[in-house]
């Protein structure tokens, strides 16, 4: 079973991601964070994180700055309502997929299968 972390500041989106991860992804959720700083601290000292679901627009920093500050190498699935950052996302090797909110079950499963 893979371990994941959800980094998302919107409560509803967080709940949806949790639900999909457990029900369809067969994932173990190690933590849920509503800000980048706490999430970074946790992931950087926790080698067992396999997948990070990451919102691009976080209150304290952008998802891309977040990726630059990661010292470990989990697979990252970006989750956002902003369609215009996919090109930038291709510059980051850790990013395996880019999902546009609202999250769709089938598309979410496809993303996890690539992790």
């Amino acid at each position: 079973m893979k371990n994941c972390v959800i980094v998302e500041d919107e409560f509803t989106a967080q709940e949806v991601a949790k639900h999909l991860a457990v029900k369809y992804g067969d994932l173990n959720i190690l933590g849920t964070f509503d800000n980048a700083e706490d999430a970074l601290k946790f992931i950087n000292k926790n080698e067992t994180v396999d997948i990070v679901f990451l919102d691009i627009h976080l209150p304290d920093m952008s998802g891309f700055s977040f990726l630059e500050n990661l010292t470990s190498t989990p697979k990252v699935v970006l989750v956002t309502s902003d369609k215009n950052l996919a090109l930038t996302a291709y510059n980051f090797d850790l990013v395996v997929d880019y999902l546009v909110k609202p999250l769709q079950k089938d598309r979410f499963i496809e993303a996890i299968n690539q992790c």
Binding site: A86, D93, Y98
Partner: protein, 236 residues
């Protein structure tokens, strides 16, 4: 790695060719000015990487990707910045490069492709983990998927970016990590005894304080992994 270039413009193909020349182990085996020609070719022969233009007359890059049966990794090359979101819909698309492309960005892209190819090259017989687990593992040796029976594997040793897979007769060197292979092995017969070793514990001959003997190989046991090993033994 071998690749093909699919672009209707001669000058665009030239640019990609020049970028490819900067990559040591990348061979261009063919170039195509039409997507249809490329599809015909790919029905006969498989390649590792396809450099693909999105906007081509008649048959777009995305049409091409949908038609493709080959497991190749696709790198889109385009002047159009607005289709990246659509590109994420296709698992086979590894990267999206916008012209003009620097050699640096191209190199990075090729590293990404290599990693993806290595990742897909080691797969377990029987498909996804929720399916029935088979009795064997396929490893990629010189682009050949070689079948290993779990029961033939003695132990696996980590060595930088590679792992050594030791069987009774052979030693295979595979580009992978211990963590990845561990996920593929059934844990009823395999056990990690050390940061760098996973053993098939049905092959153990004897156990000393901090090492275990398998055939003629002495494998270390770390202090933290020892209790788990002892627990799994049928101990008198």
């Amino acid at each position: 790695m071998n690749c093909i270039i699919v672009d209707d413009q001669d000058s665009a193909r030239l640019v990609v060719r020049q970028l490819c020349e900067g990559i040591k182990d990348l061979d261009i085996i063919e170039e195509f000015s039409s997507a249809i020609e490329a599809i015909k070719f790919l029905n006969q022969q498989s390649v590792d990487v396809i450099f693909l233009d999105i906007h081509m007359p008649g048959f777009s890059g995305f049409d091409f990707v949908q038609t493709l049966k080959s497991p190749a990794q696709i790198v889109l090359i385009t002047a159009d910045k607005d289709l990246a979101i659509e590109a994420y819909e296709y698992e086979s698309i590894s990267d999206y490069l916008v012209k003009p492309i620097t050699q640096e960005r191209f190199n990075k892209s090729m590293n990404k492709v290599k990693n993806k190819l290595h990742r897909t090259s080691m797969m377990q017989h029987g498909g996804s983990s929720s399916d029935l687990i088979g009795n064997d593992l396929y490893i990629n040796i010189d682009r050949r998927l070689t079948k290993l029976k779990f029961d033939d594997i003695l132990f696996i040793k980590a060595k930088g970016d590679y792992i050594d897979v030791k069987t009774h007769k052979e030693m295979y060197v595979v580009h992978s990590t211990l963590k990845k292979i561990k996920d593929k092995l059934p844990d009823n017969i395999f056990l990690q005894t050390h940061r760098s070793y996973i053993i098939n514990f049905t092959k153990i001959i004897d156990i000393e304080d901090n090492s275990v003997l398998i055939e003629k190989n002495v494998i270390p046991i770390s202090r933290s992994n020892r209790p788990e090993l002892i627990r799994r033994l049928n101990l008198l």
